[in-house]
Amino acid sequence: MTGKTLYDKLWDAHVVRREEDGTALLYIDRHLVHEVTSPQAFEGLRLAGRKPWRTDTVVAVPDHNVPTRDRDQGVTDPVARTQLETLQENVNTFGITFFPMSDVRQGIVHVIGPEQGATLPGMTVVCGDSHTSTHGAFGALSMGIGTSEVEHVLATQCLLQKKMKNMRVSVDGPVGPGVTAKDIVLAIIGRIGTAGGTGCAIEFAGEAIRDLSMEGRMTVCNMAIEAGARAGMVAVDDTTIDYVKDRPFAPKGEDWERAVAAWRELHSDADAVFDHEVHIDAADIVPQVTWGTSPEMVVPVTDRVPDPAAAGDPVKARGMERALEYMGLQAGMPVTDIRLDKVFIGSCTNARLEDLRAAARVVEGRRVAEHIKLAMVVPGSGLVKQQAEREGLDRIFREAGFEWRDPGCSMCLAMNADRLEPGERCASTSNRNFEGRQGLGGRTHLVSPAMAAAAAVAGHFVDVRAL
């Protein structure tokens, strides 16, 4: 018998039953909820006269719609306010753990889950949000789901699912200095494409992944969905266990010892077979910048904007031309000639403490370039913000000309007031550069926090390694 992959182990431990065609009922251990994708699910429960199966698995937080400043004035957008109030009512009605805007533990759902220890190794974790793949960094099976599935999980504690394929992406060897988790994952997406992982659970492995902190692993798993994979994951090791220990939701005492013993098994067996294997040489990865309107449209900062004429495939070439036009770029221009209007450091990809530290190191003693209209830092959670302030990072950012905001999704998707105006160009540490993602007509370039910070200072992209 061949060994099991990490995904096989997580899957097998959670199957409640199987239909004849292989569709399984998968048990869910943790359900994270935010204001945007849950109201219709709660309403569905109510209409059907159903109750949540197990409320102790649910943790709710507002993040997508919350303002990132002047919170004392409340939420001024009436439509957003209704949605936030609806979440509040639902958690009250059903008795769900909730971190409201006024709570220091509030933040982006994918930042606060791990921060609280609500995400644990070996769990199945779901949330009505595609970046739920983030939590796979803990050796968990973690997937984004739609609102109907949110309702299904609330009502039954289970998800109906077919098993995905096993894919492993190994990043071999150590990365060079100045190369971050974000660069690793962008390089992976550049290599396998935005549909490269469709139908798969991706395990990220190799020395460069092992070397990452939990924050870095979360950054990588966060963007598994940008490679098409609903789930990304990393095997459990000491880094994982050290991070989880003593978090508020983490097991304690004897439970902790038992849990750790079980978690030690959460890795792919040496003889496990994957349906797809990809190897990337870490030494080849340099800081990355996306140039187009899909995360796979990415190049090294040292490179030039690519030429559609060289694409080969006509559908692809048309897509590239469209992207160049939308982005207002010329094929062949050096990436370092791309001038920016705004800089956004935030999102569930890169708004944890380590990200803010990395950006602050670049910014310290420097100033945001004259022509940059707005450079903002939006911490991933109230606790990240608090700790960053203890370390004086807020002062560094403010002195350099950055705005220092309250936690939330903010300009990652621009549902609140933080957005790009048509034609504006932004260096962003978020995960999606789709048309209009950060505001109608806005142009997004995805980069690491250090690269975003360096771009803010220079006013255009620069190779952060040369600073």
């Binding site: 994708t37 009502a155 039954t156």
Partner: protein, 217 residues
């Protein structure tokens, strides 16, 4: 859920790869707490020339005459013909609600993003995967013949062209069964409540820390 068995309808071509759910329904409309009313803002950024906000009267907005959805020849289309990786990006089910609210019941593409694919079945929208070469031919046929229709038969899992050519497709049996009968899968799952409880007691013995899983002292 509205059931789906067989449909003959006009086909609208959307000749772009990687159409993401942000494009299908932009973020400002996700503030709604309802499942309905998203049809007028389907493909909002492409469809209108002026910026849209929730609560607007969208019939008064400036339409983009170059966008296919506004082309008179595709009015009443209920089948969307698309390119690869349709529905990628955000998990927002609002994307499916916008498509169905507009009137689409079928999307045909060479591939779909996983979450969108699953969401479709929960809302009576049938995603059909066909070979890229067949899709290319269908794009040509739609362009060449105004009012081009297709017949999509879920029972027999086949798409038929007006000239009688047919293309078989596959749908997982369980999903097909639910869609054909318009079944509520929560109700189906709850029929197995005993099995879920049995799993829980097994699991509680193995991994007690997964239960009573709120903050711990």
């Amino acid at each position: 859920m509205e059931k789906f068995d067989k449909l003959t309808a006009v086909v609208m071509p959307l000749d772009r790869s990687n159409v993401d759910t942000d494009a299908i329904i932009p973020k400002q409309y996700l503030k709604s707490v309802k499942r309905t009313g998203f049809g007028p803002t389907l493909f909002d950024d492409w469809r209108y020339l002026d910026p849209g906000e929730p609560g607007m009267d969208h019939s008064q907005r400036r339409v983009n005459p170059d966008f296919v959805l506004n082309d008179p020849r595709y009015q009443g289309a209920r089948i969307l013909l698309a390119r690869k990786n349709f529905g990628c990006g955000s998990s927002r089910e609002h994307a499916v609600w916008a498509l169905t609210d507009y009137g689409f019941r079928v999307v045909i593409a060479p591939s779909f993003a996983d979450i969108f694919f699953g969401n479709s079945f929960k809302n009576g929208l049938l995603p059909v995967v066909l070979d890229e070469a067949i899709i290319d031919r269908l794009f040509e046929a739609v362009q060449a013949h105004p009012g081009y229709t297709l017949t999509v038969d879920l029972e027999d899992q086949v798409i038929t062209t007006p000239s009688g050519e047919s293309f078989p497709f596959e749908v997982e049996p369980f999903r097909r069964h639910c869609l054909l009968n318009g079944l509520d899968d929560i109700g189906l799952t709850l029929q197995h409540a005993d099995e879920i409880r049995a799993y829980e007691s097994r699991r509680r013995a193995e991994a007690p820390w997964l239960f009573d899983a709120g903050p711990r002292a």
